[in-house]
């Protein structure tokens, strides 16, 4: 099913393109590195925690979560999913993980050589696996289960997640820091043994600082998007985020590219340039976008829907001054915890006890002045879906902002029907109009 002619409506930010290009570049580079026999690690997206360590140790990293998406997009996931079924993995498990089981089974069948049909050259046999307790059970149980195929160890990065109220207890934060710091130190010792090299601490220090700086600029760019009309659409955010999210390629270069992006967006704000022809509605998007149907956003842009903020999981931790922390490990730990911790106090003040992933959208909606939320629960990902019904309730209750819920999936791409989403656009516009009035009457300023 198509969503009509492929007319581009969104006014893309030019400085985004070089950042987007870094993704392909990094795949190419990683392919070459792998051919040259450089140690490669499979890692979960780990939110500024393990990545700087791997980077400082000059280790190639591939991300099976992303690769799962790539397999789906290339239309070859089916075969791997079937394979995972045959291996006895229950079918309700995260689709990315199941595609990866199938892939690993095939990889080992071929003696560790990436299968010829694998897109982008495939992922080579790793030296070790780096999983993370953050976000969902799948993200560490999956790597543990890969032990059936890969005789390599798994390091599981801890990700403390106390409750919003419990965080206020004495020592809670310092205990989190202690856990993370000690854990990272052990991790480094493990990596050193695995690659047979010592950590270059100066390099780690530099990388940690660059990482924070990149994320600071990236954070500032998003702040600019509060402008009316919004100068940068969610699609640009998604396109530009990977270098920061995964620390791709040369960090100094990335920093410059983000600065360029900042300048262009700032220029747009100054000139009142909008990301879409006429901004009638400002929306927030949660969580993972329908990668395969992105032109839906062009169709919605035609109707005046501007997506001004999105996907909490992909956003950088807000900047924090950690210059007084001399130990780079502790600095990395504290910065990484910042992603959740920086919101705890506000969440408690606003009495949102259901966690940061709910609170943050209240913040987004009220600060970016959204008229509506587009929620995209996924059939085979519990994590990006579970909080959405509650989120819809709380946005309505607290801010009088309605939500449009359209179901989809990460692997079974057929489950998202853009036509359906478009059919619901018309009534949803009425709802957004209605609540604009309601908000005004209730004294809100948008």
């Amino acid at each position: 099913m198509t969503t009509g002619e492929k007319k581009r409506v969104i006014n893309r930010v030019k400085a985004m393109y070089p950042l987007r290009a870094k993704v392909d570049e990094s795949y190419m580079r990683s392919l070459e590195a792998i051919k040259a026999g450089k140690p490669t690690v499979w890692a979960m997206l780990n939110f500024c925690y393990g990545d700087p360590v791997l980077k400082a140790m000059d280790i190639e990293v591939v991300y099976p979560e992303n690769y799962g998406a790539a397999l789906a997009a290339a239309g070859v996931a089916r075969e791997y999913l079937d394979r995972a079924d045959a291996e006895g993995f229950p079918t309700h498990l995260c689709g990315y993980s199941r595609a990866n089981f199938g892939y690993a089974a095939r990889l080992m069948e071929l003696g560790g050589q990436p299968p010829p049909e694998a897109p982008m050259g495939g992922m080579p046999k790793p030296l070790f696996l780096l999983s993370s307790v953050a976000v969902c059970d799948a993200r560490y149980k999956w790597f543990q289960a890969l032990g059936r195929y890969l005789d390599v160890p798994v390091w599981t990065l801890e990700a403390p997640l106390p409750g919003i109220r419990e965080f206020q207890l004495k020592d809670c934060y310092e205990e989190m820091v202690r856990l993370s710091t000690r854990h990272l130190r052990d991790f480094i010792a493990f990596v050193e043994k695995a690659v047979g090299r010592k950590m270059d601490w100066d390099k780690l220090d530099e990388i940690a600082n660059l990482m924070m700086e990149i994320n600071r600029v990236s954070h500032e760019i998003n702040e600019l998007r509060k402008a009316k009309p919004c100068p940068m659409h969610s699609r640009d955010f998604w396109s530009a985020m990977p270098p920061a999210l995964f620390l791709l390629g040369d960090l100094k270069e990335s920093l410059q590219l983000y600065k360029n992006l900042y300048d262009e967006v700032a220029e747009r704000v100054k000139n009142g340039t909008s990301a879409i022809p006429e901004e009638k509605y400002r929306l927030v998007f949660a969580e993972l976008p329908p990668w395969h149907s992105l032109d839906l956003f062009d169709r919605l842009a035609e109707r005046g829907w501007n997506f001004v903020i999105e996907s909490f999981g992909y956003h950088p931790p807000p900047p924090v001054d950690l210059s007084h922390v001399s130990d780079p490990i502790e600095r990395i730990a504290r910065y990484s915890l910042q992603r959740m911790v920086s919101n705890y106090k506000d969440a408690l003040e606003k009495n949102v006890v259901a966690g940061v992933d709910v609170y943050i959208y209240l913040k987004y909606v009220s600060e970016w002045k959204c008229d509506g939320a587009f929620l995209h629960p996924l059939v085979s990902c519990r994590s990006a879906s579970t909080h959405l019904p509650h989120l819809a309730n709380i946005l309505m209750e607290r801010l009088k902002v309605p939500s449009l819920i359209v179901e989809g999936d990460i692997v079974d791409l057929r489950l998202f029907n853009p036509q359906d989403a478009l059919l619901r656009a018309e009534p949803f516009e009425e709802a957004m109009e209605h609540y604009r009035k309601v908000r005004r009457e209730a004294g809100f300023d948008w």
Binding site: K141, G147, L150, E158, E166, T386, P389
Partner: protein, 386 residues
């Protein structure tokens, strides 16, 4: 309280809240918990009655739909649904743990939609490394702090040690109960055990121990024993606290061991206090509970892992169960969307295969309607093992 032993267990099983309601009417505080990672010793030591919150399979989920998506652990959905329907209004509060995702997510929603006076969430690390253990202990300290404030009492080492003793006693009694399933025919059926354990989880520790003692005595003495059926089965899974499910599994077999959260799992081992009681609890709960939540692996060298060794490390404790209880086959029983356990299925099956024990995986959606197909699966499995 006229009924004793199995009859009493049956009574409590069918009306699990009665006793705690009575106690509450007498001024006791009652706190619910849905997951066995909560150290009950800390509650008992502060004179609080812990109550295990269970799902209700026969109750259609109506309220939870408003706050949780459909593809979600049906047990936790059911627990939350019951809460939203006011079924837990006899509780003074709940304690939840970051065990599986559904536990954690439900906890947050729970806290957002119900207004019980006390609520505490324990964060649990993913690994069993030393730093993780210490963090877990610090989380338990946090729970003590909020419990002390809530109860207005101070935790004393003396009372805590007494509580630890009482729960160690409970562990021992449940272990003895499972000893009685070793003979063929077993002296007590799996279905009876489900009822007894659910009853024990709904009573204060001393009453639970008394009940267990009565049951043990009665079962050893009684003439009408369960019959030996086609096969002796091990149940491996998350939580099976419904006697109807167990009786389906037992229609043509004896389930002589239940390795799940309403069976043997919460009662394995005992808390050993060396110096610090809270640390002793942290060690016991994090290391002794054989839940899929904790990440354990065996490494051959820093860069190599050995799968067989890994299986041995993770599931080795099942080996002696298989031989001591003379197990013929294993039912891996999970509710749909139980991710942490589901990821283990192929590995644990591999392990049983290495022991030469047939195993079958059955998934159900925690509704009455799923029982009939479950029966067919179990029967077909029995037919395959002859």
């Amino acid at each position: 309280m006229a009924a004793k032993g199995l009859l009493r267990a049956e009574e409590v099983y069918h009306d699990p809240t009665r006793r705690v309601r009575e106690l509450r009417a007498k001024g006791k505080k009652v706190i619910g918990y849905p997951c066995v990672y909560v150290p009950l010793e800390l509650l008992a030591a502060l004179d609080i009655v812990p109550y295990r919150i269970c799902g209700e399979m026969r109750e259609p989920v109506t309220e939870a739909d408003r706050v949780l998506p459909a593809s979600f652990c049906p047990i936790m959905r059911s627990c939350l649904d019951c809460s939203l329907k006011g079924r837990h209004d006899f509780l003074d509060g709940t304690i939840t743990v970051h065990a599986s995702d559904p536990q954690e997510k439900t906890a947050r929603i729970w806290q957002s939609y119900t207004r019980l006076p006390y609520f505490h969430f324990i964060d649990m690390p993913g690994t069993t490394r030393t730093e993780a253990l210490e963090y877990f202990a610090s989380q338990l300290d946090g729970m003590v702090t909020t419990l002390e404030t809530f109860s207005g009492k101070k935790l004393s080492a003396d009372r805590l040690n007494k509580a630890i003793e009482a729960y160690n006693q409970q562990r021992l009694l449940v272990q003895s109960l499972f000893e009685l399933t070793k003979p063929s025919p077993p002296l007590v059926s799996g279905t009876e055990i489900v009822k007894v354990i659910k009853a024990v989880m709904s009573l204060p520790v001393d009453e639970g121990n008394q009940l267990l003692n009565e049951v043990l005595e009665e079962v050893k003495a009684r003439k009408e024993k369960p019959q030996a059926k086609r096969a002796r089965l091990l149940l491996w899974g998350s939580t099976t606290d419904d006697a109807a499910v167990m009786s389906i599994l037992e229609s043509n077999a004896n389930v002589v061991f239940a390795e799940d959260c309403a069976g043997y799992r919460p009662y394995r081992g005992k808390v050993i206090v060396a110096t610090d009681e809270v640390m002793a609890l942290a060690i016991h709960y994090l290391l002794e509970i054989t839940c899929a939540r904790t990440f354990v692996q065996s490494t051959a060298t820093p860069t190599k892992k050995d799968y067989q060794q890994d299986l041995q490390g993770r599931y080795g404790y099942l080996k002696s169960i298989i031989s001591d209880w003379k197990i013929d086959g294993v039912i891996l029983l999970l509710v749909r969307y139980c991710d942490p356990f589901a990821f283990e299925v192929p590995a644990v099956k591999d392990y049983f295969a290495s022991l030469g024990i047939p195993a079958t995986y059955i998934e159900y959606d925690y509704t009455e309607g799923s029982l009939a197909p479950m029966r067919t699966r179990v029967e077909a499995f029995l037919e395959t093992i002859g």
